[in-house]
């Protein structure tokens, strides 16, 4: 049985637009203009038990809306959802016992009480027995290293500390399916690494299915073999992450830093007529040439640039995943075999 099964899922919102000015506002009192906007536009996919899937897309692509429908928070406008064999919204109370949810931007814990009190309450909410709790949570608490935080009220925790506790709280009933919405937003590298390690571990240990949305592609690279990419409410790619890289990342990036003051048009002019795309990292003053993985072309470009300007530093890199994704969004669709 698939953990998640989604067919032609659609969610529309009414978007009200206000007329401008005072006169417009008065007219709005009586009639208002609105448009029906599909936030999620007939998407279909399925996730099997034990998979870790990255669900990515730009702001407003429909990620959160999908997650909220999958977790039973929102009712779909049309389409079928079966998660853990249930319809999330119809059998909400029974259904949510089988999932864990972490919203990175919002706390799931009670603000004023100590973390362990929140845990105790949640333990009762999810009807977890003492043996199950001890067996499972002691391990979770140890791995996430939150033992010393348990007697502190949530409002006194730092963001990284809180996120680790949130994660533990979402796992109290050891759900077979875990939804993580931006779990690493605003965290420092060490906490991020710890959380990734932990997720990998529970995935292996309990065969937990994990659906993850994030802006940080390094999370996805570290955790997920499969990505589902969303744009304007539609799935534009669903497949293996390495497949995406292999097919689209057959390019190279040349990083140049110059000793003298150079501007982008000047560099662009040098290679005009050649299949090279230039970018400028303004902060570091690094000029980046994106080109195909063609040895001859690479040496030609280097030769021209070196001849024209004094060089401080040169690097040759593989195209980053971020660059790939950005390219996809610019093109609006993925054509991989």
């Amino acid at each position: 049985m698939n953990a998640i099964e989604v067919k032609n899922l659609r969610k529309e919102f009414k978007a009200y637009s206000s007329r401008s000015g005072l006169k417009g506002a008065f007219r709005d009192l009586f009639t208002r203009n609105y448009k029906v906007v599909p936030a999620v536009n007939n998407i279909s996919f399925s996730v099997s038990q034990g998979e870790m899937v990255g669900y990515i897309g730009e702001n407003g692509a429909g990620k959160s809306t999908t997650i909220k429908m999958l977790t039973g928070i929102l009712t779909p406008t049309s389409g079928d959802i079966r998660v853990n064999g249930m319809n999330p919204h119809k059998e909400r109370e029974k259904f949510v016992r089988t999932i864990g949810v972490v919203f990175g931007q919002r706390s799931q814990l009670w603000w004023d009480i100590a973390v362990q009190e929140s845990f105790r309450l949640l333990k009762k909410v999810y009807k977890v027995t003492d043996e199950q709790y001890d067996d499972h949570m002691q391990h979770v608490i140890k791995t996430l290293d939150i033992e010393p935080l348990l007697d502190k009220p949530v409002r006194k925790l730092s963001l990284g500390q809180r996120m680790r506790c949130e994660l533990a709280a979402a796992l109290i009933h050891n759900p077979p399916l875990l939804f993580l919405d931006e779990p690493t937003i605003g965290l420092d590298v060490l906490v991020k690494l710890k959380i990734r390690e932990f997720l990998k571990e529970i995935n292996q240990k309990y065969n937990t299915t994990i659906l993850l949305t994030t802006h940080d592609l390094s999370d996805i690279e570290a955790l997920c073999e499969r990505v589902i990419m969303l744009d304007e409410g539609k799935v534009i790619y669903d497949g293996a992450l390495h497949h995406l890289k292999e097919n689209l990342a057959d390019g190279k990036e040349l990083h140049f830093q110059f000793l003298e003051q150079v501007d982008l048009p000047a560099v662009k002019k040098l290679t005009s007529g050649m299949p090279v795309k230039w970018d400028l990292d303004e902060k570091e003053q690094v000029f980046i040439a994106n080109l195909e993985n063609d040895d001859l072309l690479i040496s030609q470009v280097i030769a021209i640039v070196v001849a024209a300007f004094k060089i401080k530093d040169i690097k040759i890199n593989e195209t980053s995943t971020e660059e790939i994704i950005r390219n996809i969004y610019e093109k609006g669709a993925v054509e991989v075999g």
Binding site: I73, H89, V96, R97, R106, K124, V125
Partner: protein
């Protein structure tokens, strides 16, 4: 059974947080007492200028007010949902509620519980005893039972109306301040309804039945036989309105749009 366990779990958590801020608790008690006193002052001042209000004496009106305080205290303790729109809709805390395996309204009621409001019931009973003894009311063996039933009925009427008002937030897309405004209207159930004209009496009886929180049930204890019929209707109206509010809630929750990220 599960819901009963959860109820006590939440209450014990609640007590722990509350006891951390004892000074607040004290101020709250004081401000509750003060607003109760001020309503009494209003009655006293008014009766400084008149003997009867629509045929009801000063002590009778005070008795009604005392009765009103009891279901109102129960309501305030368990239906403290004034900030529902702000906290759960605008800030999106309903998202969290909906990922938990307990009925959403029940969770919100538990999270917002304010047991200290129950102190108002003590004030109310004191006021009733004072006014009742001045009126020479006699207590029969079944009075406490009826009192209990009427109080629960009244609290359910109140709860039902305010849950329905909270439901407006599921449809209206912006914040509303209807609830505080409604509070003013709820006060009119404390005065004899026969002073109002037909329309307002109709509204207070069948549309926003606040009269069932004050004057109707209290008139039973005051021995006003002409209102007995309404008094006995109190628990029924309470159950009907509260059930309606839950139906509306369950329907409304499907319309929840979620807070924007």
């Amino acid at each position: 059974m599960f819901y009963l366990t959860m109820f006590f779990q939440y209450i014990s958590q609640y007590a722990k947080t509350r006891l951390q801020y004892r000074a607040d608790l004290f101020v709250e008690f004081l401000s509750d007492l003060m607003s109760q006193a001020i309503n009494l002052v209003f009655i006293l001042v008014v009766f400084g200028h008149t003997k009867l209000l629509g045929g009801w004496s000063r002590d009778e009106i005070i008795f009604i007010y005392g009765f009103f305080l009891v279901p109102y205290a129960v309501f305030s303790a368990f239906f403290n949902i004034w900030n529902f729109n702000e906290r759960y809709i605008v800030k999106g805390e309903l998202d969290r509620i909906l990922t938990r395996p307990i009925h959403s309204l029940f969770q919100i009621i538990l999270e917002q519980i304010e047991l200290e409001s129950l102190l108002g019931a003590v004030t109310g009973i004191t006021v009733m005893v004072y006014a009742g003894s001045r009126l020479g009311l006699e207590v029969t063996w079944y009075d406490p039972f009826l009192f209990f039933i009427f109080v629960i009925g009244g609290a359910l009427v109140y709860g039902g109306i305010f849950v329905m008002l909270a439901c407006i937030s599921f449809w209206a897309d912006a914040r509303t301040s209807i609830m505080p405004m409604m509070y003013n209207i709820s006060n009119y159930g404390r005065y004899p309804v026969n002073i109002y004209n037909k329309l307002i009496r109709f509204v207070l009886t069948w549309i926003l039945p606040f009269a069932f929180v004050g004057v109707y049930p209290a008139s039973f204890f005051l021995g006003k036989t002409e209102w007995y019929w309404y008094a006995f209707l109190t628990p029924l109206i309470g159950v009907v309105f509260f059930s309606l509010s839950i139906v509306l809630w369950n329907h409304g929750i499907k319309k929840y749009r979620g807070a924007g990220n």
